[in-house]
C-alpha cells in the first residue's frame, strides 16, 4: 500500500448521498431510537384505538388518533432523535471530524434534513397503513398535511439542534426524552385539549406538538383547509429555534 498523495474531494452529490445514507443507517441500527420513532407510535395507535381510554372529542377514536400520532412521529424524529444523535456526535467529536473533512457544513445539515425526511416518510407510511387497517377515513387535502409536516419538522429540528449544540450529551438525552414524554401527554397527541383546564389550554396549543397535532386533526379529521393559526405557531418556533441554534450552537 502506498500513501503517495492523491488528494481530492468526491463530487458534492456523492458526498451528500454518502452522508445522508450513513446517518440513516446509523439511526436505523440504533435500538433505542427505533423504539422511539417506530415502536411507540405504532403501539399507542393500536392500543388506544382498541381501548376507549380517553374521550375523543366527538370523533371516531382512530380518526382522532392518527393525526396526533403523526405529530408524535414527527416530534420523535425531528426533535428527540435528532437532538440525541447530534448531541452524542458533538460529544465524541464526529462533528469536529466532519469539519476537517471535505464535506461542507451546509451539506452536513442538508444530509441531516434528508435523514429526517426519509425516516418521517417511513414513519408516516407505517402509521397511516396501520390507521387504514383500523378503519381510519382521512379527510382534507394531502397538500395541507405535507405543508404542516414540513414546517412542523423545521420547528422541531431547530429546537433539537439548539439543545444538542448547547447542552452536554447526557443532559440532551435526558431533556429530549422528558420533553417527548411531556408533550406526548400534554401536546394533544392522544388526549384532546378539551380535557385540560381552560387556563392552560392556550399554552398547550402553542407548543409545537400541540400546534401540529391540532392542525393535522383539523385537516384530516374535520376536512378543514390549511389551518393558519397552527402554521403561524410552527413557523414562529422554527424561526426562534434556528436563530437561537445559529447563535449558540457549539460544534465541540
Amino acid at each position: 500500500m502506498t500513501y503517495s498523495p492523491a488528494p481530492g474531494a468526491a463530487s458534492l452529490p456523492r458526498m451528500l448521498v454518502a452522508q445522508a445514507a450513513f446517518e440513516i443507517k446509523l439511526l436505523l441500527r440504533n435500538g433505542e431510537q427505533l423504539l422511539l420513532t417506530a415502536v411507540i407510535p405504532v403501539v399507542l395507535l393500536a392500543l388506544l384505538s382498541a381501548v376507549p381510554a380517553f374521550d375523543t372529542a366527538g370523533h371516531e377514536r382512530v380518526d382522532f388518533l392518527v393525526p396526533g400520532i403523526i405529530a408524535l412521529s414527527v416530534m420523535s424524529t425531528a426533535f428527540t432523535s435528532l437532538a440525541i444523535a447530534t448531541g452524542y456526535e458533538r460529544r465524541y467529536g464526529a462533528l469536529k471530524r466532519l469539519a476537517v473533512s471535505p464535506l461542507p457544513r451546509w451539506a452536513l445539515l442538508a444530509a441531516k434534513a434528508i435523514m429526517v425526511s426519509v425516516v418521517e416518510a417511513l414513519q408516516i407510511a407505517l402509521v397511516c397503513g396501520l390507521g387504514l387497517a383500523l378503519g381510519w377515513r382521512p379527510e382534507g387535502s394531502p397538500v395541507s398535511v405535507v405543508i404542516l409536516v414540513v414546517i412542523g419538522t423545521a420547528a422541531f429540528a431547530g429546537l433539537g439542534l439548539l439543545m444538542a449544540g448547547t447542552l452536554r450529551a447526557e443532559a440532551t438525552l435526558a431533556a429530549a426524552n422528558l420533553v417527548y414524554l411531556l408533550l406526548l401527554v400534554l401536546g394533544g397527541v392522544v388526549i384532546p385539549f378539551e380535557q385540560f383546564p381552560a387556563a392552560i389550554r392556550p399554552v398547550l396549543e402553542s407548543t409545537p406538538t400541540g400546534a401540529l397535532a391540532d392542525g393535522l386533526r383539523s385537516v384530516l379529521a374535520d376536512g378543514a383547509g390549511l389551518p393558519w393559526r397552527s402554521c403561524a405557531v410552527l413557523i414562529a418556533w422554527a424561526v426562534v429555534g434556528f436563530a437561537a441554534a445559529a447563535r449558540w450552537f457549539r460544534w465541540e
Binding site: M1, T2, Y3, S4, P5, A6, P7, G8, A9, A10, R14, M15, A18, Q19, F22, K25, L26, R29, N30, Y88, E89, R91, Y92, G93, A94, K96, R97, A99, V100, S101, P102, L103, P104
Partner: protein, 307 residues
C-alpha cells in the same frame, strides 16, 4: 528546505478569555519532512495545529497552509490535508471502525482502501465493534487511519502515540516513516522526546505559546560548547575548588545526590582537569561519561524546567 514551507505561521496569537494560548508564534514547517512540535501541556500545540486545520480562528497573525488561508480557503484545503484529532476523537459512537473509514473514504476522490488500512493498523479484530466500545489505543489508530484515508499531501497528527503500548507505538512510528518516504508532509505534536528524536527531520519546541527553539535534532544537540560530563561520587561534595579549576563558562551541578554533571565545552584538557581534581579528592568518578547534550536537555532548558 529551500522549497516553500508546508505551513507558514507568522505572529500567531490566540486567546481564550484571559488566557493567552498562543502568544506571537512565528515558525515554518518544511514540506516533505516530518516536523515534531514539542512542548509541555498547555504550551499551545493543539491550539496552533487546530488553527492550521481551520477549526479555530486566530486573534491575530498570519497562517498559511500549503500557501492558503485555512479559514478562507478551507474548501480547497480540506481534501488536501489529513487530520488526526487528539485522544482519538472524531467518530460516530454507534459506527464501527470499518463503517467510519468507509464513509470518510466516500468523501474523497481517490481514497485508500479502508480494509487494507484496517489491516495495516492492526485493527482487524476490532473493525466490527462500535467505536464507543473500543479502547483508547484502538480509537487512536482509527483516528490515525481517518487522517490518512483521503491520501492527503499534508497530515496533522495531534499526539498520535499518546497512551499507546510500546509495540503499537513502534508500529505507528514505522507508519509515519513510510508516510515520509511516500512524500507526505507530516506535522505531529508530542511531548515524548524520544518520539521527536526517532521521527522528526525538524523539531519545533514551543513553550507558553511562543517558539523556544527549532532545528533538526542534530542541529539542536550539536551546539558549540554543549558537551556534558556526568560522573558519580559521594554526595554533597564541595564543588567550589572544581569550579575554580575549570574554565569560567563551565557549569557544575549535583543533579541527584552523588550524581554530578559538568556542562561545558568539553575537550581532552577539560576532562584531564576534572579527573585530576577527582584524584586529588580521592573520588573514583564512577560511571564517568562524556556526551553531547540530549534533546531532552535542550527541551528542559527551552521550556524553563531545567534544574
Amino acid at each position: 528546505m529551500n522549497v516553500s514551507p508546508a505551513v507558514d505561521i507568522d505572529g500567531l496569537v490566540k486567546r481564550y478569555g484571559h488566557t493567552t494560548a498562543v502568544d506571537g508564534l512565528s515558525v515554518r514547517f518544511p514540506a516533505g519532512a516530518v516536523t515534531a512540535v514539542l512542548g509541555p501541556n498547555g504550551a499551545g500545540k493543539t491550539t496552533t495545529v487546530e488553527i492550521c486545520e481551520g477549526l479555530r480562528r486566530a486573534d491575530s497573525g498570519r497562517v498559511r497552509v500549503l500557501g492558503r488561508d485555512p479559514l478562507r480557503d478551507g474548501a480547497v484545503l480540506r481534501p488536501r490535508v489529513g487530520v488526526m484529532l487528539q485522544e482519538g476523537a472524531g467518530f460516530y459512537p454507534g459506527a464501527r471502525a470499518i463503517d467510519m473509514l468507509t464513509h470518510l473514504a466516500r468523501l474523497h476522490r481517490t481514497p485508500l482502501d479502508a480494509d487494507q488500512l484496517i489491516e495495516r493498523l492492526g485493527l482487524r479484530q476490532s473493525a466490527g465493534t462500535p467505536l464507543r466500545r473500543l479502547s483508547g489505543g484502538q480509537r487512536q489508530r482509527v483516528a490515525l487511519a481517518a487522517a490518512l484515508i483521503g491520501r492527503p499531501e499534508l497530515v496533522f497528527l495531534d499526539e498520535p502515540t499518546a497512551g499507546l503500548d510500546p509495540h503499537v507505538r513502534r508500529a505507528t512510528w514505522d507508519l509515519i516513516s513510510e508516510l515520509r518516504s511516500d512524500g507526505v508532509t507530516v506535522v505531529l505534536t508530542t511531548h515524548l522526546i524520544d518520539e521527536a528524536e526517532q521521527l522528526a527531520d525538524h523539531v519545533v519546541i514551543i513553550d507558553a505559546g511562543r517558539l523556544a527553539v527549532e532545528g533538526s535534532p542534530q542541529e539542536l544537540t550539536a551546539g558549540v560548547g554543549d558537551g556534558v560530563i556526568t560522573f558519580g561520587g559521594p554526595p554533597r561534595l564541595d564543588l567550589s575548588s572544581l569550579r575554580a579549576a575549570l574554565p569560567e563558562t563551565a557549569e557544575v551541578r549535583e543533579v541527584t545526590p552523588g550524581g554530578y554533571q559538568v556542562t561545558a565545552s568539553v575537550d581532552p584538557h577539560l576532562l584531564a582537569t576534572l579527573t585530576s581534581w577527582c584524584a586529588t579528592h580521592d573520588i573514583l568518578a564512577e560511571g564517568l561519561q562524556v556526551g553531547r547534550r540530549s534533546l531532552e536537555d535542550i527541551y528542559l532548558e527551552a521550556t524553563g524546567r531545567a534544574r
